[in-house]
Amino acid sequence: MRSTFVPQIAALLGLLFLWEAVVLAFNVPAHVMPTASAVLQDIGTGAALIGRGVARTLLETLLGFAIGAMVGFAFGAAFAWSRALERVLFPLFILSQAIPVIAFGALVVMWLGNGIWSKVAIAAYLTAFPVTVNTCRGMRSVDPQRVALLRSFGAGDWRVFWSLQVPFALPSIMAALKLGISLGLIGAIVGEWFGDTVGLGILLLQAMYMENMPRLWAVILVCGVIGIALYALMEAIERRWVWWRPEL
């Protein structure tokens, strides 16, 4: 298992080396693109600060993701269960996704205040949509013959749901969760832009407006690493517990 990460790490190191070499070779000014070493050095000097930001943003992301995944699962299952419900509510879901999340900024702050919950809400909001869509689609794709078979053994709705529909939908739900956790991270960062003093989003804002380029790139790099780590976590969960593929 461990050996599979070697090529990825090699690729990352290679990219950093290339970055450094290109910036030095073309004498790119620091305010356009700082060297990789300057960025890594900034991560080193700002470690305590960035660490605090990571802890905060990660907490917002995971809470938002958990809530969004649960809400998405509930709505997806409800839509799969009732076409009428889907017809009434699903257009609202699509509508909500068509509105840029920043438009909700002031509202979220008015409703949930300036604390962590406004960020969690935005992370959850972004996570929920793909989970809803994929849960519904996954559950709908169950072979009706299997449902008939299970029912012939006397299974009720609940039994069909847990024994057939959920396992059948899980691979597609997992695909949505992988997408959702990245969206949750974006939601948490954007949420911090509605006012806070800690978090990666705030560090990003501060660096941007003071044109502190090494810090800006340091935070971008850290966000990227977190994004990859969260994705890898979801992949590991999938490999461990949701290894089957629906036969289509």
Partner: protein, 338 residues
Amino acid sequence: MMGVVKTVRRAALALGTLAAAAAIATPAAALETVSVRLKWVAQAQFAGVYVAKAKGFYEAEGLDVTINPGGPNLNAESLVASGSDSFAVGGGIESLMASRDKKLPIVGLGMMHQRTPYVFVTMNDSGIKTLKDFKGKKVTTFFTGAQHTLNAMLLKEGVNPADVTITAQAVSMTPFISKEVDVATVTLYNELNVLKARGITNVTVFAPDDYGISVPRDVLITSEKMIAEKPKAVQGFLNATLRGWKYAIQNQGEAVDIVMAAAPGLDKAHQTAMLAEAGRLTIADAGTTKGIAALDMDRLKGAHDLLLNAKVINAPVDFATAFAPQFWDAVPAADKKM
């Protein structure tokens, strides 16, 4: 007659009972919980507020103040109008006027920056010596209000703004530094320091105030509801905030440390420079002759007329309801006079 006396006595009794009940329910030490929304992220631009909190000035006025930082896409005026926040360090006079024009129930209590906090800059070698030279040049500015100031300046110098290529300015100063644009807009407390930090000092500055145009900014606002229901809290907030600012201007190193403690991601050198400039804007003109955050009504009327001409506001705004100068007038001189 007896009836009236009886009613009055009964009312007095009821009031007395109420007062006693209130006294029991809220001991003298209980603080009124209020919040102040900043129009931007925590930084030295708001040092006075952070100092007032850290130094216990708010507490001394009976207030428990929560400072809520702002950010992009967050409108301090609407958060105060909705009651989500009790007070705010809002945008400029233009934000207050536009909000009043839209019937938002917010009221100006004081004006932190007595002069326009932004200026227009050009490189010394750009060939631009006067505003007349802006003709045919590329100018970027903040489209959140500064464009109207620029237009007014140009018109005053006989330049038709249509003859100048004016576009919205992005976050970065790089297009100006790399000379893609001839003139850029900078705030004295932030972007100008960014330029200096990058070693760019050979710039010519065009300040609106030198052309008789003033757009004071960073207005302290509250809601009509707060003024009607909690005038004591409003007075206390203003007293303590101005005291905080006076302290911050007189003890800038300590004030920067207080801001840095609240928002540790900040750059100290940058914040020190920011506070110095914010302090200068605060004690400019009426800020010294009258006191910190004084409402210089003549100057505010000038800005109002500019906004009306630019059609930022559709109708004249009634200053009697847009401002509540009685609170500033009642701030002890020791808190506001430098």
